[in-house]
Amino acid sequence: MIIVYNFGSQYAHLIARRIREMGVHAIIVPHHTRARTIKKLKPDALIFSGGPASTWSTSALLPDPDLFKLNIPMLGICYGQQVLAEMLGGEVVPGRAAEYGKETVFIDDFSGLFKGLKGKEHVWFSHGDAVEVVPKGFKVTARTRICPVAAIENHEKKRFGVQFHPEVEHTEQGMTIIRNFLRMTRPKKDWKMNDVSRQLIKRVRKQVKKQGVIMAISGGVDSLVTAAIMKQAVPKHLYLILIDNGLMRSGEVELIKEYYQNAGFPHFEVVDASPLFLRALRDVTDPEQKRRKIGHTFMHVFDTKAKELKKYKRIRFLAQGTIYPDRIAGTHTPLAAIKHNRHHIIRSEKMKLKIIEPLAEFYKDEVRVLGRQLKLPKEKIERHPFPGPGLAIRIVGEVTKDRLEMLRSADDIFVHELKKAKRYQKIWQAFAVLIPVRTVGVMDDYRTLDFIISLRAVNSKDGITADWVRLPPGLMETVSNRIINEVKGVNRVVYDVSQKPPSTIEYE
């Protein structure tokens, strides 16, 4: 097993995922985890992730120094390399060599991490600080145009550092670098997805027995796979609730309803709570506040429903589609994807329900593998990610019924045209955003002052870095014309041409 020390990087998960893809179990721990805890876990190696802090500042995040006495191989990535340098007697300086995005790295040593690479490689950077003085016993193994210490190694102690990010897809030979690290640390191949679904079903059946389980579903992959596992485990005792928050896409509630009804879930109910959500969102413009309001309202509606059910049924469990990234505090789960977990746990204690989270150990793509093992419909498993707060965070600013209506229609047109052009399946995520800022237009010789719709379509492997899709101009023209002609209140359409980072996929 490999342990990833998380210093607050959005990429910590990516590192763990990459290692799991190579068949080795990886877990993430917070940066303050003590050395004695690590000793008990007996990891094969440690990886220090990147992070937003600076080692030279008073708010530096530094790990337990005793870790270095454990004699475990280590790899420091970005901030992690700076941590290695700082704690082992080197020096880090601020702002000397800021690099964001793709850079060419020149490799000087091919014996360790860079075995099999060429002298010049394209890698991906995101740093302001840099290592200036290398600690004793280390040598520099790579450099760039402006960063003289792009990678360091201490072969003897098996300690390695890279200033760039091997875990992101833009580093072309990133997987080779990680594989080289694993080769030198020789961990057990102890992570396989075969047969996992059967084990999970067995485990749930044993735990729940003949008691009732309640669960809220959203139409997303996580809750679908969870529900499917629960159904196979305890078919008669599963109670599903779909809360219609009025923030879903066009026709979505109907589609989810149809699926669950036809897929043989015996107890399935839809609660229409859209007026409640709209009321809660009135006058709210701050994105965080929006999320909180939606979270609270969701909990309130779910609680009411759960209490009602509990009067008649022996419900003892609450199932949730929590996945691994949802559980790790301090990592940036893409904000938009946050579920209402913590509230759930608090409330469920009050209601004396036990929590079941069959997917708690898995990443999204692993969940999709499970979905395939369970023979769930392909289009449901490969659905574009859709955030919990729904269309509410795709209206920049206040959410109103009219705005939701506009956004829903525009989004529907965009998705429809992408499907018609056979492009939807090839795109990671595509959606419309309403920017409620008025610009001038002219229609039928009249002056109009209406809102802007932004079209977002990105490709990504993991949602952590993303690039905008090069759509043909003809398609953009069709979408733009249809939206402006068919959606009242919109007179301008823009196409988002920003990469993540420094932009994000979602807007709020």
Partner: protein, 511 residues
């Protein structure tokens, strides 16, 4: 001479322009012009333009219907067509099922009259809610589209022609051919209008009028004021006083570039007035686009007046020259009583309190004609064919309040954008391109930290005349470079959007 009766549609200009381009003189008259007034121009034919109003509305505007008794050809376009249909006893269907906006395919059914030489199917550009339902007696249908059975009709005996679509916009592929048929074949006009010798023609009356007295002009760096200044420099070089007001709302490097040009060209009296601070103060707290324009206009007049008074003490200034061009006069509803104000123009409000006589040598010319005149006057091509830049400058490219920070962001992004477009060799093919700041903060992520910053919209359009426009197909790798440079180099921006809207129903500018 062909007369275009203006019912307030912004297309009236285009019609006149197209006709002039074809080589015959055209003039716009307000829709209510009397029969005598029209006769005075001795026209060979009349065109009735489109209108922002629906003809089926209660107080729909109408011309003096006696014009229908004229023995000369009349072409009705859109609103004009419906007016004609109604007059001759046809009927209309109101706003609804037939509405069409944008390109449509028309089946051509009669090729003897106005459609001579066209194909069986033609792409035409529509913008209408109402439509002709029942044809008047004696008329035949000459074109139909999917939704609109009567897209064109005519009565060749009476020489009356109606088009539901707009032949004057470039999106109607063979629109010029249609107008050509009307003007030359049907009206029998001669090709007798051209721009040759225009510089002489315009200089002589200026010399006569101005004599030895001083002329004051405010130059902006834009084409219209530049050509006016150059023309005056040719006519009365020693009596010309040029003032360039630095509003602080110009693009990067613009003031310097313009000053250099005037100095190099040997303008004897040229001065820059730095009024940046005053403009910014006056714009504080203003969100409404019209109010912004007003504030800028008033401040401009104020600064200019001060300068004029100061100059007046040294020189005998009696005239104020302005770069007003034909569309400026019509858009501000001088020629037409009904034109909806699309933009406000401080050009027209400036001289009121100045006690100076206004001269506007370009007042009958269209933009293209002004540019050709500039070339005749020997101005450098890149200045003459420079993309349009609005009077209120960068202020209307910031949606909402103008602040120093926002100005600096929009100026820097505009600079990056222009530089990359030029480097990619795209500046010649694009009509106008600029950045607009959307003052809404959205989330981004940089070096593992969350950012909340502004969005920048990139606008680039292709157009023949600014009346209709399409978004420019900028190659994706160029867009990528622009987007990366903007988010990396310009602080305060974390998202870049490319505008993919056509005009209409959008516009080129944002405010």
């Amino acid at each position: 001479m062909i007369i275009v009766l203006d019912f307030g549609g912004q297309y009236a200009h285009l019609i006149a322009r197209r006709i002039k381009d074809l080589g015959t003189q055209a003039a716009i008259l307000p829709y209510h012009a009397s029969v005598d007034e029209i006769r005075k121009h001795e026209p060979l034919g009349i065109v009735l333009s489109g209108a922002p109003a629906a003809i089926t509305e209660k107080d729909a505007i109408r011309p003096d219907m006696k014009i229908m008794d004229f023995d000369m050809p009349i072409l009705g376009i859109c609103y004009g067509e419906q007016l004609m249909a109604q007059h001759y006893g046809g009927s209309l269907a109101t706003r609804g099922a037939q509405r069409e906006y944008g390109k449509e395919e028309m089946q051509v059914k009669g090729k003897n009259g106005i459609f001579k030489g066209l194909k069986d199917q033609e792409t035409v550009w529509m913008s209408h809610g109402d439509a002709v339902e029942k044809l008047p007696k004696g008329f035949t249908v000459t074109g139909s589209t999917r939704k609109c059975a009567v897209a064109a009709f005519e009565n060749s005996e009476k020489k009356r022609y109606g088009l539901q679509f707009h032949p004057e916009v470039v999106h109607t592929k063979n629109g010029s051919k249609i107008l050509e048929n009307f003007v030359f074949r049907i009206c029998g006009a001669a090709k007798d209008y051209s721009l040759k010798g225009l510089d002489e023609q315009l200089s002589i009356p200026i010399q006569k009028e101005v004599g030895k007295e001083g002329v004051l002009i405010a130059v902006s760096g834009g084409v219209d004021s530049l050509v006016t200044a150059a023309l005056l420099h040719r006519a009365v070089p020693e009596n010309l006083y040029c003032v360039l007001i630095d509003t602080g709302l110009m693009r990067k490097g613009e003031i310097e570039e313009t000053s250099r040009y005037f100095q190099k060209q040997g303008f004897q009296h040229f001065e820059v007035v730095n009024a940046e601070k005053r403009f910014l103060e006056r714009l504080q707290g203003i969100l409404d686009p019209e109010k912004k324009r007003e504030a800028i206009g008033h401040t401009f007049i104020e600064v200019f007046e001060e300068k004029a008074r100061e100059l007046g003490k040294k020189a005998n200034i009696r005239f104020l020259a302005q770069g007003t061009i034909y569309p400026d006069r019509i858009e501000s509803a001088q020629a037409s009583g009904a034109a909806e104000k699309i933009k406000s123009h401080h050009n027209l409000t400036l001289p009121e309190k100045m006690h100076l006589k206004v001269i506007e040598p370009l007042k009958d010319l269209y933009k293209d004609e002004v540019r050709h005149l500039g070339e005749i006057l020997g101005l450098p091509k890149e200045r003459v064919w420079r993309q349009p830049f609005p009077g209120p400058g960068l202020a209307i490219r910031i949606l909402g309040e103008v602040t120093p920070d926002r100005l600096s962001i929009v100026r820097e992004t505009d600079y990056v954008y222009r530089e990359e477009i030029r480097k990619a060799g795209l500046d010649k093919g694009v009509w106008q391109y600029f950045t607009a700041l959307i003052p809404v903060k959205v989330v981004g992520v940089m070096a593992d930290k969350r950012t909340y910053e502004y969005m920048i919209a990139l606008r680039a359009v292709t157009s023949k005349d600014g009346m209709t426009a399409d978004f420019a197909r900028i190659p994706m790798d160029v867009l990528e470079r622009i987007s990366s440079r903007i988010v990396n180099d310009v602080k305060g921006v974390n998202r870049v959007l490319y505008d993919v809207s056509q005009k209409p129903p959008s516009t080129i500018e944002y405010e």
